[in-house]
Symmetry: C2
Subunit: 147 residues, 2 copies
Amino acid sequence: MTYTIKEVAAKTNLSIYTLRFYDKQGLLPFVARNKSGYREFTEGDLNLLQTICCLKNTGMKIKNIRQYIEYVMAGPTTVELRLKLLTDHRLEVVAQQQKIQQNLAEVDYKINMYAAPNAETSVARELAFATAEKKANHLPNPYQMTK
Amino acid sequence: MTYTIKEVAAKTNLSIYTLRFYDKQGLLPFVARNKSGYREFTEGDLNLLQTICCLKNTGMKIKNIRQYIEYVMAGPTTVELRLKLLTDHRLEVVAQQQKIQQNLAEVDYKINMYAAPNAETSVARELAFATAEKKANHLPNPYQMTK
DNA sequence: TTAAACCCTAGACATAACTCTATGGCAAGT
DNA sequence: ACTTGCCATAGAGTTATGTCTAGGGTTTAA
C-alpha cells in the first residue's frame, strides 16, 4: 500500500541520496514516517513527486520548487499563487528554449560549413585571415601551422 | 585594432572574471599578450569567442568546448573531428529540448487546471484523495486543513 | 610624478545540486 | 539469536562554473 525509499528511487530514476536530499531541502514535507522513522510514500506522494520532477526537469531551482510545495501543503486557497508561480516558470522556460534555438542555429551554421565538400578550403581561408590579423598586429601566431 | 579584456567583456556580456576563467580553462589559447602580459583580442579572436558562447549557451561543458578549441588550433585537418563534436552536441541539445517540452507539457496541464474556473474545487478533490489515502494507511495528514 | 584606472596571477570563496561516508537502529529469514 | 540488507541522520566531499580578494605591475593624464 505504501512504498519504501528504495522502491520510489527505482520508480522515479532518482537516487536514494537525491530523495533524501530533496526531503532535507523541504521538497517532501508530505512524506510520512512509520514508527521506526522510515519514510512511507503513498500513491499521492508519488504524484506530487512527479510534479517536482517536471519542475526540476524544466530547470526550476529547488528553492522555487519548495515554494510551490509549500503552496500545495497550504491547501486550495493557494491556487492563484501556484498558478502565478507556474506561469512565470513557463515563460522562463520558453524564453530559455528560444535562446537555445538561436544559439543552436549558429552551431548549425558551423556544422554546415564543416559538412560542405569544400570545408577544408573554407577553414583554411578562415585560418589565413586570423593569422594575417595576428601578424598585422605584431602578435604571435597561436595556430599550429602544419606543413 | 585590438581589444582589451574590458572591451571584450562589454561586447560579449561575459564578465572580466569569466573571460579570465575561460582562459585559465584553456578556452582562449588564441588570445595573445602584449609586452606587459595584457591580453589583446583581435576580431578573429572575437569570432572564436562568439562560437564559444554559442556552445556554452547551448549547454556544452567547458571540457568539450576546450576540445573543440583544440581542434581549431590544430588547423584544417581537424574538420571532421570538429564536425563530429558539433553534430553530437546538436543531437544532445535537441534531445534535451524535447525532454523539456515533454515536461513542460505536464506543467501546462497543471497550469490549465489551476486556471480553470473550478480550480479550487478540483484542487480540493485532489487534496481529499491524498488525505484519505494517508488515513487509509494510518499515516498522519501533513496538509494544512484550513477550516 | 603621482593618482586613477587599468591590467595581471594565484588562490580563496560561493552556489547549486547532488553524492558519499560514518555510525547506528530495524526487519526478515535461517 | 545472527546475519544480511534496508533504513535513518549528520555532515563531509564532489563537480561545475563562476566570482572575488590580495598583492602587485602598467598606462594615462593632469
